[in-house]
């Protein structure tokens, strides 16, 4: 149990990488990239957890009881929103590739050089 969340994060990373490497559709690859990014969120939040700690908000709790780490939560928070924008940029690249070459297969796209 002590290392279970980290192993789950590693498993998600492995799944995402497998999907990225053995695939024939650009949109599928974008989705696998999203899965790879989500493994980092799981790893971050699991690293900052304190057993028995509360969420780091003290507006209704007197004093400062034991709380989980707020820094990793801040990092993961901005990460989640920025990932969506980068995915949109990748999707626009896929649209342009389809417009120019008519195919979304990375194997065929690799042959168009220059």
């Amino acid at each position: 149990m002590a290392y279970f969340p980290y192993l789950v994060a590693a498993w998600i990373l492995a799944c995402g990488l497998y999907g990225l490497a053995t695939n024939r559709d650009l949109i599928h690859q974008i989705i696998c990239l999203i899965v790879v990014q989500s493994s980092t969120y799981v790893m971050l939040l699991a690293a900052g957890y304190v057993t028995g700690g509360i969420a780091p908000y003290f507006s209704d709790v007197p004093g400062t009881p034991k709380a989980v780490d707020p820094v990793v939560q801040a990092l993961a928070l901005t990460d989640v929103v920025v990932e969506a924008a980068v995915t949109a940029l990748l999707a626009s690249f896929a649209i342009q590739a389809h417009k120019r070459f008519g195919t979304l297969d990375p194997q065929d796209l690799a042959e168009f050089k220059g």
Partner: protein, 253 residues
């Protein structure tokens, strides 16, 4: 290279990576035994120094403000890049939205979907606004508030009113709003420099009660600007993609 060969090579490389990852994991303290000095140190001093009870937002916009400026500009650059990539190419005629709406038999969804989507627009906008302006009091903040606010605009499109969506969010306005959000954030930091303080120091009055809406100085202001910037970014993303899907017709290129 056949798929089977590709899979074999991948599995070999994956085994090597997995060995390294597991070696690294075994060096971490267990789950729930976070020892580090940084987290508890911030928790002890944050409420006294900034009069904010939402510690995550305080970390985001004050203690780690530089990182958040970087992320905000990643967002900005991604949207600008998308607009440039999806610009109107030579030979691609674009029909005005009025013609498109007249031709398609709207609405595509049933009456129930329309009613639900349009009924939820108001509450969603209110919740997004509340989240963006209350960063210092609870689990709120600019980023979440901005995304929820953008969802309110998208619900208008989902209710079948594409024309209204286009009219509510013209490209000039969303461009300006996004620039205000990202540029405003950087400007708050630079103003601190002008006043003779370190970059992005908290120079606005801190307020009396910890956790009140008017307390915590620049944190509230920055969170509001970030909320506007993020909302405009997502509305623009959706607008660009919708334009591509519904208005642009196949031409040359």
């Amino acid at each position: 290279m056949t798929p089977a060969q590709r899979r074999a090579i991948f599995l070999i490389a994956m085994a090597g990576l997995a060995a390294f990852v597991i070696w690294g994991i075994s060096g971490l303290p267990g789950f729930g035994r976070y020892p580090g000095p940084y987290g508890p140190a911030i928790l002890k001093v944050a409420e006294g120094q900034t009069n904010a009870t939402g510690i995550v937002s305080a970390v985001n916009f004050e203690y780690r403000g530089i990182d958040t400026v970087g992320e905000e500009f990643i967002l900005f650059t991604a949207v600008v890049g998308m607009t440039v990539v999806l610009r109107k190419l030579r030979g691609e005629p674009e029909r005005p939205a009025i013609e498109e709406a007249r031709e398609r038999a709207q609405p595509a969804g049933g009456a129930g979907v329309r009613a639900a989507a349009l009924a939820f627009t108001g509450p969603t906008a209110l919740i997004g606004w509340w989240l963006a302006t209350h960063a210092q009091t609870g689990p709120s903040g600019g980023f979440q508030g901005g995304v929820v606010l953008a969802t309110a605009f998208l619900l208008v499109y989902l209710g079948g009113e594409f024309l209204t969506f286009q009219r509510l969010s013209p490209v000039d306005m969303t461009d300006a709003a996004e620039a205000i959000g990202a540029g405003g954030f950087a400007a708050v930091g630079v103003t601190a420099l002008v006043l003779g303080l370190p970059y992005m120091d908290n120079y606005l009055p801190l307020g009396k009660a910890p956790g009140a809406v008017s307390s915590s100085g620049t944190i509230a202001l920055i969170s509001f600007l970030v909320g506007i910037g993020v909302a405009a970014a997502f509305i623009q993303i959706a607008g660009e993609l919708l334009e591509q899907t519904m208005l642009v017709r196949e031409g040359g290129g």
